[in-house]
């Protein structure tokens, strides 16, 4: 479907709806997106972490809190990216919900996608900003580069959000989403270098982990926060995550059109 009479704010019209809708529903998600990661940060980083000696070489010579916090930032952003996409997209695409309503007006499916993607990015960024604020308050940032951990974490979340969006718009109900969280999100969360250095894993497993997107997010956020980032390493991580987001976006464009204007 081509786009005659494109108004630049078409996507924003849907974006503003999502904020209005969120105003009525924020209590349900604020816990998982903001409070949960912060509790983890305090309990594991500042609490349990004191049991881990800061001279531990696998941590790169920093305290466990400093090692764990940026990893947790990336993992929490991944989870936020998935939570912001999987449930809302599969919910709003149902008959009688927001997507079918919006695409019966001058909005095209792609406008709905853009509006919702922007909303996801902003929500992930807000969660990451809250986390960064607390992380910096703990004195974890070792370099001005640490400020870049915020866009890095947002990119990490968005890289997960786009493919999940492309998938969720095809779902007839939300049940597969729960499977996703059990079998994809949890293992990534635990094994992508959030809680421990992947160098500690057996070689084969370590290489496997280095292929996973969350590992790239964790490494990016961690090296920026600790000031150990290299141009080559960081650009590699950014490229990986950007390609993932872009690929997801392109599939989502097609799926939105197919499923919303069938």
């Amino acid at each position: 479907m081509t786009t005659t009479a494109v108004a630049p704010d078409m996507a924003l019209r849907f974006y503003r709806y999502l904020w209005l809708h969120y105003r009525r529903n924020w209590k349900g998600t604020i816990v998982i997106s903001v409070a949960n990661p912060l509790l983890f940060l305090v309990a594991i980083g500042a609490g349990l972490g004191t049991l881990v000696g800061s001279g531990n070489a696998t941590l790169g010579g920093v305290s466990y809190l400093a090692f764990f916090a940026p990893g947790m930032l990336a993992a929490a952003s991944m989870q936020n990216g998935m939570v912001e996409s999987a449930f809302p997209v599969s919910y709003h695409r149902m008959p009688g919900r927001a997507y079918p309503v919006a695409v019966s007006t001058p909005l095209e499916p792609v406008d709905v996608l853009h509006g919702h993607a922007l909303f996801m990015a902003v929500k992930v960024a807000i969660g990451a900003a809250a986390f960064c604020a607390v992380m910096f308050a703990f004195g974890v940032a070792a370099s001005p580069l640490a400020l870049l951990a915020l866009p890095a974490a947002t990119l990490t979340g968005f890289a997960f959000a786009m493919p999940v969006t492309a998938w969720a718009v095809t779902l007839p109900d939300v049940r597969p989403v729960q499977t996703l969280f059990k079998w994809v999100v949890m293992p990534l969360y635990l094994f992508s270098g959030t809680f421990f250095a992947t160098a500690q894993l057996p070689d084969a497993l370590g290489h496997l982990v280095a292929l996973t997107p969350l590992w790239h997010g964790v490494e990016l956020c961690r090296t920026l926060t600790l000031g150990t980032a290299t141009w080559a390493g960081s650009l590699g991580h950014v490229a990986y995550l950007s390609v993932m987001a872009l690929a997801g976006y392109l599939v989502a464009r097609r799926n939105f059109r197919r499923h919303l204007h069938p």
Partner: protein, 314 residues
Amino acid sequence: MIAQATGLVKTYPPRDRRSSPFTAVNGVDFTLRRGEAFGFLGPNGAGKSSTMRMIACVSPPTAGTLRVLGMDPATDGRCIRARIGVVPQDDALDSELSVRENLLIYGRYFGLSQQVVAERTTGLLDFAQLAEKAGERVEALSGGMRRRLTIARSLINEPEILLLDEPTTGLDPQARHVLWDRLFRLKQQGVTLVLTTHYMDEAEQLCDRLVVMDGGRIVAQGSPAELIAAHSTREVLELRFGIGEQAAAVEKLRQSRTGDRIEELPDRLLWYTAEGDAALAAAHALGLSPVTALVRRASLEDVFLALTGRTLVD
């Protein structure tokens, strides 16, 4: 002429590898005239909603040509949708938002300013008899109120065509009559109404012209009176018999009244005749003793039965 279709086809791709493509609309032609009320009548699965979705530019036709408001939905979907109103069967309101917020959101989709939406909201809520509910959440509204709100919402862009998919399905009789009254007023204001229904009384009440659909095709079209005149007798005699007696009665009637059409339904038989009372007298003269007998005017239900051999609402 406000919309025209020629040889319109809609085939949906298979849902999964095991299923095959499904053709919901199989070559239909129709012309909608400005200011009329036009109905698509047919049972569930006849292709009514699929046809409506194509007119609404939310489902591209698989084949055939379609023009709406002089434009091609394949290229001008946005422009067409900006000038039509849609009342979906499932209301599609945000039940967590207030009545006013639902109108605001919808108005914004059309690019209307907050001020314009606020002005129109007042008039529309009066029209929908919901002025007192403006601040309430939609979840607190009854089914009839929600449907009226959906109609109010569909009018926010002052549409030239209003598409209504099964507008009164699921409503109680009183709510239906309120809704019919509102739709009649809209028609008087010059809005073209296009509706689907499987209720013959609704089609007779509201539609100037209608098409009868069955199995993805149009099987008849005309005004309700024309269709009845063309496909039914003026009156119908409905007879109910005791258990097990109907078959014998049908046999007897068909032998003695070879010129008349007699339809057997599971619970009663329908005798198509110009004079119902005379037919009833004839039945008694044949020695038949029905449990109940009813003479009524022929309706679109009879038209549908004559055309397809089936009743509309099973």
